[in-house]
């Protein structure tokens, strides 16, 4: 078998269903093997390599399985970089296979040559250059193992063209062993016990949970633990859905655009139980002012995340699922009890904060409020869709006004903040769940960063719904310019916008414009009705240009220094 055939056979044996890619000179042998040897593996031809990576990423986020990408050398690899970095920042399992010029030409500035391993080194969990075809299958095995275990992440495999053509024997490697990589499978029992004791002796506790709970498939355990403890729980942007937003113990998202009750619960707490979250600067605000009275328990699979930004009192390194299960077991048999009176008082205080109703907005007026648009989408889809977003105001509105009750429903670029992520990510989820409603909440700025994928959607019948909150501005940039740059709106106005309805139609899809608050709900109901079940619909919603995202913690402020409206 040739290296190219080995790759295709390996991917099939590994159970990979979809390969997102774009052909080119240095991967021609692989594309040929795809044509001759692939049985169950389907390849989706995107229109730009960045979209291939985001789509594989969306597939991974929605399913929990690794996304797989195939691109050519040079520009193929560099176009993939933004997508790889996006996956890296959010710890998404992914395999990115890149073609490379033949080994004999490496280093000679050959046509479409780039040092892919060098370029991607800081944005991957690990990467490989396969120099010998005999190592290909075992390298692939290592790559999948690395991508999917421990703290997940993208792995790049660079395969020179001559290695793709060289012959070797193939057998699916059953075992993998790496002496320098031993993912942690169990949290320290003593630490977990200490943590439970600290939890039960706290008076103003709060659970602060992040994307790690979703990556670690620990939602069920988190729900059980939270109910058992009776503590308030706040979730990060990346963690939304791991605990049901509709549950009364949920105080909403925290951080820069989090709820008043979430941020004040954190700030006034005496104990923070951080689970699969990493004290990101968008969550903590000013570290000097961060939660002055709180002791901190931190559960994370990555030791390097612990005490990175905030010093922790009880670190627990381990898989969230195992650690939470162990906490539940200890809780079941302990004689210790909570100070129920203190907890009741704490809840009373929290309910007081909640009563400010910080997400209220003025819905009167002739213009559609972006918040109202997202709420209407939530109603039309009964809150049960897969929702991807791009980056900016619409992303925050989506996080605030589309409450999620299930994990893996909310797909967004939290760490890197990549505009252009939304549409391809939705494609990935739709490919995985063809019968489910998949939508992308975006803005007129972000959507243009990967608009070419409308073509891919037509080719593969990916009937995602695009909800474009069109305010004619790069809204988040505009908001910061309004607040911090004396309303000098430098380059944030999107001039010369295309007619998105006509543009979508020319791609062969359905385009609908909504500009009247009175018809908003009815029009959206129709978009999500049987009528368009199998069609991609681009909904261009003309929204109020002046609307800002509130609440907001300005840069440099503490969690208790929010701007409410």
């Amino acid at each position: 078998m040739t290296g190219a055939q080995i790759l295709i056979h390996y991917l099939e044996d590994e159970g990979v269903e979809h390969l997102w890619g774009y052909p080119g000179g240095a991967v021609l042998p692989i594309y040929d093997a795809l044509d001759t040897d692939a049985k169950n593996l389907s390849h989706i031809l995107v229109r730009h390599e960045q979209a291939a990576v985001h789509a594989a990423d969306g597939y991974a986020r929605s399913t929990g399985k690794p996304g797989v990408v195939l691109v050519t050398s040079g520009p193929g690899a560099t176009n993939a970089v933004t997508g790889i970095a996006t996956a890296y920042m959010d710890s998404i399992p992914m395999i990115c296979i890149t073609g490379q010029v033949p080994t004999g030409m490496i280093g000679l500035d050959a046509f479409q040559e780039i040092d892919t391993v060098g370029v991607t080194r800081p944005i991957v969990k690990h990467n490989f250059l396969v120099k010998n075809v005999d190592d290909l299958a075992s390298t692939l095995k290592k790559a999948f193992y690395l991508a999917t275990t421990g703290r997940p992440g993208p792995v790049v495999i660079d395969i020179p063209k001559d290695v793709q053509n060289a012959k070797s024997t193939y057998a699916f490697p059953q075992e993998v062993e790496m002496r320098s990589y031993l993912p942690i499978t169990k949290g320290h029992g003593g630490q977990i016990k200490k943590a439970v004791e600290m939890m039960l002796s706290s008076k103003r506790p709060v659970l602060y949970t992040g994307g790690g709970v979703i990556l670690g498939d620990a939602s069920a355990e988190l729900v059980e633990l939270t109910h058992k403890l009776g503590f308030p729980i706040t979730q990060t942007l990346m963690g939304l859905g791991a605990f049901p937003a509709s549950d009364k113990q949920s105080v909403g998202m925290l951080g820069m655009h989090g709820t008043y009750e979430a941020n004040l619960s954190m700030h006034n707490s005496d104990l923070i139980i951080a689970i699969g979250a990493r004290f990101d600067d968008r969550v903590t605000g000013n570290l000097e002012k961060f939660c002055p009275d709180a002791k901190i328990i931190h559960v994370d699979i990555d030791p390097a995340s612990i005490s990175k930004n905030v010093l922790v009192d009880i670190p627990i390194v381990g898989p969230v699922k195992q650690v939470l299960t162990e906490m539940l077991r200890i809780l079941d048999k302990t004689d210790l009890t909570m100070d129920q009176e203190a907890l009741d008082d704490w809840w009373l205080q929290i309910e007081g904060w909640r009563a400010t109703n910080c997400l209220r907005y003025d819905s009167a007026g002739v213009k559609i409020k972006p918040q109202a648009a997202v709420e209407a989408v939530w109603k039309s889809t009964k809150g049960d869709a897969y929702v991807s977003s791009d980056v900016g105001q619409h992303q925050m509105f989506a996080a605030q006004y589309y409450p999620f009750d299930k994990p893996r429903r909310w797909l967004n670029s939290g760490g890197l903040g990549t505009m252009g992520f939304g549409l391809p990510a939705a494609m990935g989820a739709k490919m995985a769940f063809p019968d489910e409603t998949v939508l992308c909440i975006t803005g007129e700025g972000s959507i243009q960063m990967n608009i070419q994928e409308l073509s891919t959607c037509l080719q593969y019948g990916l009937s995602v719904k695009i909800i474009c909150l069109n305010n004619g501005f790069l809204g988040m940039v505009r908001q910061w310019q309004e607040f911090f740059y004396e309303r000098r709106y430098s380059m944030s106005y999107m001039d010369s916008l295309p007619d998105f309805v006509k543009l979508t139609e020319s791609y062969g899809h359905v385009g609908i414009r909504i500009d009247d608050p009175k018809t908003l709900q009815a029009q959206l109901d129709e978009v999500f009705s049987e009528k368009y079940k199998n069609r991609l619909v681009f909904v261009d919603i003309i929204t109020d240009q002046q609307e800002n995202v509130y609440p907001m913690i300005p840069a440099g402020a503490g969690l208790n220094e929010m701007i409410l409206v």
Binding site: R121, L129, S180, D302, A304, I306
Partner: protein, 163 residues
């Protein structure tokens, strides 16, 4: 405070750049770095000197451990250890200074390993601070060239850094 971090890394191309890349990407500094093969063909020993608070160095060690090509990491400065650095220093040596430098080299237990009519090349081994001290006593205008290997070290006693 200075820390000497010693590690075993896979003897593979790119392993070194993963380590040095980590330091530049996260804004940690490297005072010195040295790497060479070991008795095990598949492993290299890398020693680097960095500085920071104990919290920063702990974070550095955690990040190093996260690199797939890094097999084992040890902060030598945490325990009793031996550290050595090699220096070759070329001095302009004419007239009276020839005798004076010879005495100084003896005091510092160095060796003059190359001599010309106008220069001495001195070899000196020791802790970095000793090499610093030698440089201190030489008139800077007479130092022609300095080459230092960077620090290497091992734990004292039976403790070893091995697989």
């Amino acid at each position: 405070m200075k820390h000497i971090i010693s590690m075993l890394i896979e003897n593979e191309s790119g392993a070194l750049s993963r380590v040095s890349g980590l330091f530049s990407a996260r804004g940690y500094n490297i005072h010195a770095l040295t790497v060479a093969p070991t008795e095990d063909d598949s492993l290299s020993r890398l020693t680097l000197v960095t500085s920071g608070t104990s919290q920063e160095v702990e974070q550095i060690v955690k990040h190093l451990n996260r690199l797939i090509d890094v097999v084992k990491v040890l902060d030598l400065t945490e325990g009793l250890h031996i550290e050595r650095e090699l220096m070759l220093i070329k001095l302009s040596a004419t007239g009276d200074t020839r005798e004076e430098y010879k005495r100084l080299v003896d005091i510092f237990r160095g060796d003059i390993v190359d001599v010309t009519a106008t220069t001495y090349t001195v070899q000196m081994v020791g802790k970095s601070t000793k090499l610093d001290a030698f440089i201190e006593v030489i008139d800077p205008g007479l130092i022609l060239e300095t080459v230092r290997s960077g620090t290497v070290g091992v734990m004292r006693g039976e403790k070893c850094l091995h697989l």
